[in-house]
Symmetry: C2
Subunit: 142 residues, 2 copies
DNA sequence: CTATCTGTAACCAATGCAGTTGCGGAGCAT
DNA sequence: ATGCTCCGCAACTGCATTGGTTACAGATAG
């Protein structure tokens, strides 16, 4: 069980930010959180059964990788009127391709690789998921 | 040759925004732009030889799909200290998977599909590229 | 009952981006 | 040459997003 404060220190951020992420992970049923003394977050499922895609999906805002302009383009132009319908399936496919890669890596895999690099074995797998969530959350641009 | 004003009207945006995108496309050697009366943008290469990936790369800011926290995480925690090195190659792979899909679709393909949907055939392929650039540029979140 | 931790709301500051305006310059037409 | 059209670029604005921070209520163990 790791407290939000410890995890926050690990990635140089604020405990509240970590708690926000943990909330999403908790809603997705990946971690269970305990208030009170000695509380904190723990993985509630087998880390081998949680993929990066699961974390990604739990943490993302639910919007598309590429956003088509919401505003209805002009009907006067043939291109503007149909381009979105043409592009959307292509973008969806690209998005799924990316998710496919994420789906093939589990939290256990990540934890294992981290352990290889760190000679010490002091860290349990629980915070690995948390940190992964925090890092994934750090989305960039497009 | 399409003027920035016409293209802007087609996607409900501002001419200057279109010109900014055109500048990127021009730097990448995909379109040539003519000032003056009857000027505008034209594809300078075969649309079948320009992929969505080319447009995407020309237009994007050059940053990663997933951004790892720039700040050096704590060395005190084994996870925080190594998580980035573990995650980076995975994210790169995911990014490339997405780009792979984009690479398989050409401007000519999307132009063709647009024409299928629009009964009319009045639009040339030039603005197709422009609109694609504009739309791709509309990146959302992650 | 107290100390510890989470959950959540509210707020602030920084950031980024589309949109806009205002030039200067380039090319075509007359 | 003159004027019209159109791009290039710089500067500014306004809006939205987001991480960080503070504050406080609720839950839990000792």
């Amino acid at each position: 069980a790791q407290t939000s404060e410890r995890i926050a220190a690990s990635v140089n951020t604020n405990p509240v930010v970590v708690r926000r992420i943990m909330g999403a992970l908790r809603n997705a049923g990946m971690v269970s959180v305990q208030p009170g003394v000695g509380g904190g977050a723990t993985l509630s499922r087998d880390p081998a059964g949680i993929s990066l895609l699961d974390v990604y999906r739990a943490v993302e805002d639910g919007d598309e990788l590429f956003s088509l302009p919401a505003s209805e383009p002009s009907r006067s132009c043939n291109v503007g009127g149909h381009i979105r319908d043409v592009l959307r399936p292509i973008f969806c496919q690209a998005h799924r391709a990316m998710e496919g890669v994420l789906a093939r890596v589990s939290i256990a895999d990540v934890g294992e690789q981290v352990m290889e690099r760190a000679q010490a074995s002091g860290c349990c797998g629980a915070d690995t998921a948390a940190v992964v969530g925090a890092v994934v959350r750090e989305r960039a641009k497009a």
